[in-house]
Amino acid sequence: MKKSVSLLLVLIMVFAVGSNLVLAQTDEVTITVWCWDPAFNIYAMEEAAKIYKEIAPNVKINIVETPWDDVQTKLTTAVMAGQTGTLPDILLMQDNALTKNVTNFPGTFVDLTDSGIDFTQFADFKVAHTTVDGRNYAVPFDNGAAINALRLDILEEAGYTLDDFKDITWTEYIEMGKDILAKTGKPLLTNVADSPDQIMAMLQSAGVWMFDEDGDVFIAENDVLKEIVEIYVEMVKSGVLVQVNDWEQYISTINRGTAAGTINGCWIIGSIVGQADQKGLWGITNIPRLERAANASNYSNQGGSSWVVLSSSKQADVAIDFLAHTFAGSVELYETILPSSGALATYLPAGDSDVYNEPHEFFAGQRVYADITDFASKVPQISYGVYNYEARDAVGTAIAQILAGADMNSALQEAEETVKFLMGP
């Protein structure tokens, strides 16, 4: 009898110790993250995980590679089905879609305004993209500051230098473009037909968008947009801008050297440097500015994404702490990811670091990263709004109609009505 009692006691003790061990093991927290680019944001996340490992060794970052379109599909399905348990703790969101998602799915994302993250350390225009109704919903990440990348050898052939393109207007750009076309046979610019990206970058350069402060559609009466359309049409008609069919063809015009330059978000550098033969032949400067628009500037933005924290996360506090110590607090992180990914951040303290001031071989020794960081600090702030994608598509269609010969005012009127219809009463 005694024996069995002592055996029981021993067993109980073993179990008690065992379960303690189990408890100690479950102290390990796993933060799941959805993002999509192995060469860039996944790589950045991996480096951030390494940095945070030293601060909180029990936190494991589990990165799930998910392309943006798929992130949106999965997010929509999970929220609409009420099964947010399938969502990650953190996901990377396109800035273009942020306002829409925050507004359409209230309560899905953690309001980070009072989380202790210092948003003043990020570029102002970027914080504006991640703010909805005055509340911050995302930790800003990559930089989409617009650059005008030009082939120095082609410019030289036509008697120009990179400096001729600095701080210029679109009229001056078109004049030089016509001259370069005549002398070298190469257009200054290429763009995917029907893609509104170029138009959007030009709009933001004047601090204007397709919606006014009240969120109402602002297309048909938008004089800045009209000025842009006129410039765009003139560029296409004069051959300064050549429209291509798809993205692959667009990249091909850069890599083959059939165009003298391109204007896009600074992330286009990643595709430019892919063609090793062109090393030393490229330079970058700021983009041309509008003339009639009141707040015209030589700076804009194209694309970009930011980190949001999901409210459904059981360890949202850990997720926030992780972001605060890495993407919103570690210059070291940004110094690590820049050289191999070439992708720039919007975290301003990183811009002062030596790594950002290194000359870039591919760009003939130009300090491109420092230049882009400078551009980013001057990009006009705008809010993209809930119906951003609808408006972009409508304006894209209008441009195609205008190029085919339709009247500008009626095409823009039609675009405005389309967006209004999609927005509902």
Partner: protein
């Protein structure tokens, strides 16, 4: 002479159209051996970067796992839906009455509902049943499709009813008649149905995307979509991944194509 000229012209047209439809496939295989920049600048000759693309691809994605997942999911889906739909199609035709005809009509109507419309309710059902990221979840919604049932019902219509009667008189059970007589004779229909189902399951994207939540359950189409997500796409690795993902479908198509022809010949004997 005129006839010969006409025939030659006919072959020329056929040759051009078949070249046109084969060209993308050929370009894909050629591109798998070229670098990203080569592909974008329009190189049409085979290059020497196959090994490099292969290394890059393996570094970026777990191709082995995705291939295995796709193969397993598509095989289970094909076998399960062939069994279920052929029995259903046979039943609708052989034991047919007014009620079943009405049911068949409703089934055919269900073909008109786009998948996107039932996606969210389906996702909720599988989520509550705790079946996310499983092969069961992948297969179940497509096990019984109106199209396949219709295909089998149509082919059962040309199955000689006298043989069924004769077998019944000889004392064969209904299941025996189906498995021992109908299935062997209808091999060609099975081959067609298998090709259609396998290709559908192999290429399916939207449903696996939302139902396969774990990275371990990734399939080939999802893997390819991952490869084009970044700011910079490695077209060499991408083309290699697409080429790899196309191979099993080509093999299965060719294998069943053979069977398909045999089936027709043997059923005509």
């Amino acid at each position: 002479m005129k006839r010969k000229l006409f025939k030659g012209l006919k072959y020329l047209v056929l040759l051009v159209t078949s070249l046109l439809s084969l060209f993308p496939l050929l370009w894909m295989f050629v591109s798998a051996t070229n670098t990203s920049v080569d592909i974008l600048t329009g190189r049409l000759l085979p290059g020497s970067h196959l090994a490099e693309n292969f290394r890059n691809l393996l570094a970026k994605a777990d191709v082995g796992r995705a291939l295995w997942n796709s193969l397993r999911n598509a095989s289970v889906a094909t076998i399960a839906s062939l069994v279920v739909c052929s029995i259903a199609g046979y039943g609708f035709e052989v034991y047919h009455d007014k009620g079943k005809d009405f049911l068949m009509r409703i089934l055919l109507l269900s073909m008109m509902i786009p998948f996107a419309a039932i996606m969210i309710p389906l996702f909720m059902m599988f989520g509550r049943a705790d079946l996310l990221s499983t092969t069961t979840a992948f297969v179940l919604p497509t096990v019984s499709t109106a199209f396949l049932i219709f295909l089998f019902r149509q082919s059962a219509r040309y199955f000689p009813k006298d043989i069924i009667e004769a077998a019944r008189i000889e004392g064969m059970g209904e299941l025996g008649i189906f498995f021992k007589m109908y299935v062997p004779i209808m091999r060609s229909t099975y081959a067609t149905a298998a090709i259609i189902t396998f290709m559908g399951a192999w290429n399916s994207y939207l449903w696996p995307l939302i139902i396969m939540q774990e990275p371990e359950s990734i399939t080939m189409p999802l893997l390819i979509s991952n490869l084009i997500a970044g700011y910079v796409t490695d077209y060499g690795a991408l083309m290699l991944a697409v080429a790899i993902s196309v191979l099993p479908t080509i093999v299965i198509f060719l294998a069943l194509q053979q069977n398909f022809a045999e089936g027709i010949i043997s059923s005509m004997k």
